[in-house]
Structure formats: C-alpha cells, structure tokens
Symmetry: C2
Subunit: 303 residues, 2 copies
C-alpha cells in the first residue's frame, strides 16, 4: 500500500534502502520522525499550529493538514518508526510542476549551537540564500507527455545562481521550457502567477499575515509552488497552489515578526511580479507585431 | 567656527583628541573620510544617489543633502583631511530626542571578507540585530529643562535586550520618561508616531519604496528618528523626522530588493505600531475611568 512519493523534489528520498517519506493511495504523506529531536519538533509545531485560534482560516490553507503520528515500517528496513501523517499535497495533481523554495536569508536560528550556525551560514553563503533571501531547494518541471519531467539533481540545484533562479522562474511558466531554451515564452505566467487566484495574489496574502504575526519564526521552511501544466495547456481550470512545508526549525516568535521569512518572501514576490509584468509586455508586443486589430487582455491574450 | 556636534548619539566622537565629525553654525555636518576606503565608498554613494533619477522625490527627503567633500583640519590634530559635507539634520531642532537604529538582521554583506563577516556576525548575535532585525545604536532622550538629556553609554546601548528596545520605544514618546519609570505614559505617541505626518506613516512610505527598489542594498545603515519634545509639550506644531545615515557599506542591488533592510524595517514598524495602538487603548481607558462624558479622538485625547 505504501510507496515512495513520485513527485518529491527535495529532502531525503526513500530509495536505495534509505529513510524517507512514503505515500499511500488515499492522499496521505508519511514523514519519518527524525531521531535527533527534529521530528518531534515538527510534530509539536503541527499540534500547536492546528489548535492555535490566532491563525486565521484563510492562512491555514497554505499548510498541509496534519493527521497526527503513526507507527509504520520505516523505508530503510529498520523496523517500526513513528511517522508524521500529513496531507499528500501533490496527490490531487496529475502531472505537477513543483518548485521547493527555502525562504529566508538565513536558515539558522539564534538559539542554535555555534557549529550548526556555521554549517548553515556556509551553505547560505554558497547558495542564493544570503543574496536573494531564498534559494530553490528542488524542482520538477513537466515538459510534456514525451519528454516528461525536468528534475535537476541536488548538486545542480545547489549551484543555482541569481541568474539561474530568474531563468527558472520564467521556464516554470513557459510552454517551451526544455533545457537550453533561453527564450522562455512565459505563456502561462498570466494564468499561473497572475489572476485573482494566482501565485502572486497568494504570496501577497501570505505576506500580509507575516507583516503582522508574531507567533512563529519559520527557519529553514520551504514554500512549494505547484500547478498542473497539462490542465493549463488544455485550457481547463487549474488552480495553482502554494504550501508551506518543513517545520522542524520553527521557534516561538515571542512578540517579534518573522522578519527573516518576510524579507525573503518579499524578494520572491518581486521576482514573480517581474516575470508577470514582462510577460504582459511581451504579449502586448506580440499583438502589435502580429498586426491583429485586437487588444491585449489582462491575462496576456490577444482578442 | 567648527565644533563638536552637541547631539551625536552614535559613532566616533571628535573628543579627547580623536577623529570625529564636526558641525558649523550654518547647518552643515563635516564627516571625516575614513582612510580604509569606507569614506570614499560613502562619498561615492552620495554622488551616485544624488544623480540617480530612479530615486523618487518623496524618498529623497529621508536622506541628508550632500554638498560634496572638503579639506579641513581634522579634529584629532593630524592636519588636513577630506571631509564629507552633509546637511546637519539636527540643527533645526532645539532640544531633540534622537534614536539611531541600525536596520537589518545582518550588518555584513556577501562580498565582505570572512574575518569581517565573523566580526559583524558576532556583534549581530550579541545585540538585537539577529533577533529583531534591528538594533538601537544610540539615543538621547530630552527629559526637560532641569534633567536635560538621558543618553546611555555605548556599553549600555550594546547590551539592550528585546525587552529594553520595546521599553525605550515607549519612553521615547512619553512625558514621564525618566530612568526607572516603568509606566511610560506614551502621551506623545499619537502626535509623534501617529498622524498623517508621523513616524509610522513615514516608515510605511519608506517600506513601499524598499519593496520595489533594487538599486541599492543598505548594509549597516542607520535610521534616525528625531523630534522636539519641548515643542510637542507646548502644543506647537513639530514634525517628527526620519533620516537614513551611514552609507559606507552600501552595495549595488543588481536587480534584487534589499530584503535584509526591508525585513528589519517591517519589524520596527510592528514595534512602533504596537506602541501607538497601546497608547490609543490606554487613552480610551483613561477617558472611561475619568468618567468624562467626552469621546476619545484619534490622537488619543479626550474631548
């Protein structure tokens, strides 16, 4: 019944006898509780979060539903192990394009040990975490029935530069997204990043909460962006989604906003809105160049 | 003609034969160009900034006017030295209360040397920089004609905790601000922090620019808040001011927003708005308790 998740783009994978998360067919995601206390910290976060009445309902949708913990056979064959039981947020998508973005210009928290801080800082400086306030931790891009997914390896992802990140945010919403294509058309930007239910609006809703909430500080937490390219290509309604995951390093906010997460989120918002406005400009240009008598609509199409 | 500034609350002081800034009676502030390149970097910033047409006019008022550089006798007697000639932003105030707040959860920049980063990081962790996204670098509080100013020493300022910062932001706008008084009345909060020309509105205007601008990253830059308590006490119009200063560590933004500054600014905004809303609540309570038939106005007074 339990199997290795097909669409996991970052983190430990349950392959080659290693410990990793599992999924079932009913839409649940089983994440092994890591032994060093991180697993219990994440479980404690979900328990605190789910009962905290200060968290508004419109914010809860950005978090996976948690169904508690359960003893299961671990994927590495080590026997029974406690697993966090979560909503499998990918299960409702047929061929999802997914980006895992670790938010914040530092992934460590003030209370951590010097060793841990130095380790994180070194990686934060090596990736775009310090410069951008976020880094891409993994992704898969659905390219079509024949070519399948583009899923760069861990080493490639960790070497992404600011230039790469900008380019990937464009490719993510392009119909011509295959590797080596520098002229991403961003044709899905208006329907995925834009619109009243699009990624940008969702990011802005999250931002408004982070400007105010002083309950939690989300260190080393990831923001997933996911959508179904095939549905969009076919013109059927597809709602792009944002989910926050990985809460092993959440600490109490103690009356202070999570300025580290908020800063990174604002930086991501700026990038996404630039892709969106570029795509609108280029579609206006296309309309003019095609000498169509029509006008360009808000979603970037010619009429 | 040149003298030691009376109201300098942070940085190197031109006393005891040391090198520091000087002022004259015409409202100019002369800052010695530091020999290690920092002085020239700050001068270069002012030159670039003053001619950059991308900076909107309503943002320029948050920066001191720069009149170039000038050779002057240094305050430490070492002879002629280049000085940055700036607007003396304090000169228009008679008895200014001033807070110097270093913005950002890190004061170092990615391109700096490992040694420099470790030195900054150590201080950022020791102060409230990492936890709050800003730290108070110096302040003076006008307490009245008899008691004069409260100006804590450098060591005391560097030991400020989150609790101290919150308390000082309250004392800063209180009529009963003397040391040891835990029950700051925040009676000037509505007129200094609040209102359409108040500190909070100015901070929000600055924030809107930082959400968009990708020209500069302001590392280790300070935000000054200053106002004239005496004028406010007497009920005369006094416009509280915000100025950004110290640009020796500004680097190019290269198309990325300054998420480090923005995050810290948002954290400060949250603190200031809490003082303001607390003061409104307590003035409503006062009105009710005094059994006055009147209502509480927006600026926190009973009518």
């Amino acid at each position: 019944m339990l199997k290795v998740p097909e669409h996991q783009v970052a983190g430990h994978l349950a392959i080659d006898g290693k410990l990793g998360p599992l999924v079932d067919d009913s839409g649940r995601f089983y994440k092994p509780l890591q032994g060093d206390g991180r697993g219990n910290k994440e479980l404690a976060f979900y328990e605190s979060f789910s009962s905290d009445t200060r968290v508004p309902d419109h914010i809860r949708k950005y978090f996976p539903v948690c169904y508690g913990s359960q003893l299961l056979e671990a994927s590495n064959g080590s026997g029974l192990l406690h697993h966090l039981v979560l909503q499998d947020i990918v299960s409702s998508h047929r061929s999802p394009s997914i980006m895992d973005i670790k938010i914040g210009s530092r992934t460590w928290y003030p209370e951590a040990s010097d060793n841990y801080i130095q380790k994180c800082l070194e990686k934060d400086r090596r990736t775009t975490t310090v410069s951008l306030g976020f880094r891409i931790a993994g992704l898969q891009l659905y390219e079509g029935k024949e070519s399948g997914y583009w899923r760069p390896g861990r080493k490639e992802v960790q070497s992404f530069t600011v230039y790469n990140v900008r380019s990937i945010l464009r490719r993510f919403v392009s119909s011509n997204s295959s590797i080596g294509n520098e002229n991403s058309d961003c044709s899905f930007a208006p329907s995925i990043y834009g619109g009243s239910a699009g990624i940008l609006e969702q990011l802005l809703e999250l931002k408004a909460w982070f400007e105010d909430q002083t309950i939690y500080h989300f260190h080393s937490c990831s923001l997933l962006i996911l959508f179904d390219k095939e549905s969009v290509s076919k013109g059927s309604a597809s709602v792009p989604e944002i989910k926050l995951i990985d809460f092993a390093h959440v600490v109490e906010g103690k009356g202070v906003i999570d300025h580290n997460f908020l800063g990174g989120l604002c930086s991501l918002i700026k990038f996404v809105s630039e892709v969106l406005s570029d795509s609108k400009e280029s579609s206006i240009k296309d309309c003019v160049e095609s000498e169509k008598p029509g006008i360009c609509t808000d979603n970037g199409n010619c009429q």
